[in-house]
């Protein structure tokens, strides 16, 4: 069943225009949006979240025309690239924020936040401020804050890009676990083919401000768009072989 349907979208930011002829995301699907830096991946997330207004086209969320709906009415949670944790709030205040602003009593919101913190293994840091957290902890807090409000759709903007290799692998495993345990619908933007192959149900490929196509991972590897990604994977494999 379709959760998100974008048709004939055009959105402009400065001199840059992003065009999305058609993008459909099914409920429970994990869509990876793949593309080089500066092709409009973050702008795509902002349009879906309602933070950027398209000049053309329609966005249907859950069967409802949401093109002009404000972000707070869309039921979509965004995790930005820098995680966007509120620095003046503790971890538990951050996680429970979305519940508190919905009018849920603070005690109840904290209980729910503690439950999700336990699920993501960050119970020990709930009273700390974001400034004292490691990159991996920040990522988990941001995910917890997004998941606790039970959104229809979670938008992840390069969630693993600022992590070192060890944490990155843990981050990938965590996202895979969230995917399998919650079956939540996710749109995850990345420029890394590894994220895409590890997590994606489908891959949407963006190039030069235009959505070029949506593929199953295996189909993407056979498409011409995958060439630079396959080249880098082959290079890695050859280098490893040579060094060993």
């Amino acid at each position: 069943m379709t959760l998100l349907l974008m048709e004939n979208i055009e959105v402009t930011a400065g001199d840059f225009t992003l065009r999305i002829p058609r993008l459909e995301v099914a409920r429970g699907e994990y869509l990876i949006v793949l593309g080089a830096s500066g092709v409009g991946k973050t702008l795509l997330l902002n349009v879906i979240a309602g933070l950027a207004k398209p000049s053309k086209g329609t966005i249907m969320i859950d069967g409802r025309d949401s093109t002009r709906l404000p972000p707070e009415k869309r039921g979509i949670a965004l995790v930005p690239q820098d995680y966007g944790l509120f620095p003046h709030m503790s971890v538990i205040e951050n996680i429970s924020y979305g519940l508190v602003v919905r009018g849920i009593p603070r005690r109840e919101a904290y209980r729910e936040a503690e439950r999700i913190a336990e699920l993501l293994g960050i119970t020990s840091v709930i009273n700390r401020k974001p400034v004292s957290l490691s990159g991996g902890e920040k990522q988990r807090v941001a995910l917890a804050r997004a998941l606790v409000v039970k959104p229809k759709l979670v938008l992840l903007d390069e969630p693993l890009s600022s992590l070192d290799p060890g944490l990155r692998l843990k981050g990938l495993e965590l996202l895979a676990r969230i995917k399998s345990e919650t079956h939540i619908t996710v749109i995850h933007v990345t420029h890394d083919i590894l994220d895409a192959l590890y997590l994606a149900d489908k891959i949407a490929y963006i190039d030069k401000g235009k959505l070029e196509g949506v593929y199953k991972p295996a189909d993407f590897l056979h498409s011409p768009s995958s060439k630079p990604y396959l080249d880098i994977l082959n290079l890695s494999r050859n280098l490893l072989g040579k060094i060993r």
Partner: protein
């Protein structure tokens, strides 16, 4: 290699130049207190005219700061968050009171809001007369303080950025709630600093007040009166007394804002 704690030529030049600048502030301040007479200050503390002027100055400056915060914070927010045609012009307009000579500012205010000014007849009809009145003093103080508040708060909003507000909104917060719970707590130091600077600027104004509202007398006007009628001793004593009150409030508020 430079020894820890040893002052090199770079530091020596910096410190010397800084001390010269600080001397320009400290020397007149010290001279003011040396010129002032403690016994005269004691008398002034019970002088109704002096107490009345202090009251008018403080009350008008507080009302002016409240008006400034209520109107300047939204303007600073708009200037920090949006880009629109003519934004540079709006920013230049905000800074006009900073570059305008004080007497000219007074004449501008009088020409616009005075009873014979552009908007004066309309204001008179609703009972607002600015010549020689408390509202006139508030208007002058507000006018001269605008750039200090708006520019300081704008920098605060720019530092906070819009991305955290965006995240808050995707988590279900309305624009008001996102502003109240995220942006405001993160920018409040700049708002307090801007209000403090605006308050101090309003309190120090005299040139425009001479043109617009000589009465009811603020302390600054009274100091000028004392200088011309009784001489330097009286003016210096009242100045010293007033500066102690203002500095005490300023230091206390700065301490609160820093903490």
């Amino acid at each position: 290699m430079k020894q820890p704690g040893r002052i090199g030529s770079f530091e020596a030049v910096n410190i010397t130049l800084s001390l010269i600048l600080l001397f320009f502030i400290v020397a007149p301040l010290a001279a003011l207190y040396l010129e002032a007479s403690p016994s005269l200050a004691g008398e002034m503390m019970s002088n109704r005219e002096v107490l009345g002027a202090i009251k008018v100055s403080l009350e008008a400056s507080i009302v002016s700061v409240l008006i400034l915060v209520a109107t300047g914070v939204p303007l600073a927010y708009i200037l920090s968050r949006t880009s629109f045609k003519g934004k540079n012009l709006v920013e230049a307009i905000v800074d006009i009171p900073l570059v305008m000579p004080h007497a000219v500012a007074g004449i501008m205010i009088l020409s616009a809001f005075g009873s014979k000014g552009l908007l004066g007849p309309g204001l008179s009809r609703v009972g607002l007369v600015i010549e020689d009145s408390f509202p006139g003093i508030v208007l002058v103080m507000t006018f001269v303080s605008i750039p200090l508040l708006v520019d300081t708060v704008k920098v605060g909003f720019e530092i906070v950025g819009s991305s955290l507000e965006d995240v808050a909104r995707t988590l279900g917060a309305s624009r008001w709630t996102a502003f109240r719970t995220v942006t405001l707590p993160l920018a409040y130091r700049h708002i307090l600093a801007g209000a403090l600077l605006g308050w101090a600027r309003g309190l120090s104004e005299v040139g425009a007040l001479l043109v617009v509202a000589y009465y009811p007398k603020t302390v600054n006007i009274l100091i000028l009166d004392y200088l011309s009628v009784y001489g330097l001793k009286y003016a210096a004593t009242l100045s010293a007394l007033y500066s102690i009150i203002v500095l005490a409030i300023f230091v206390a508020l700065r301490k609160v804002t820093v903490e």
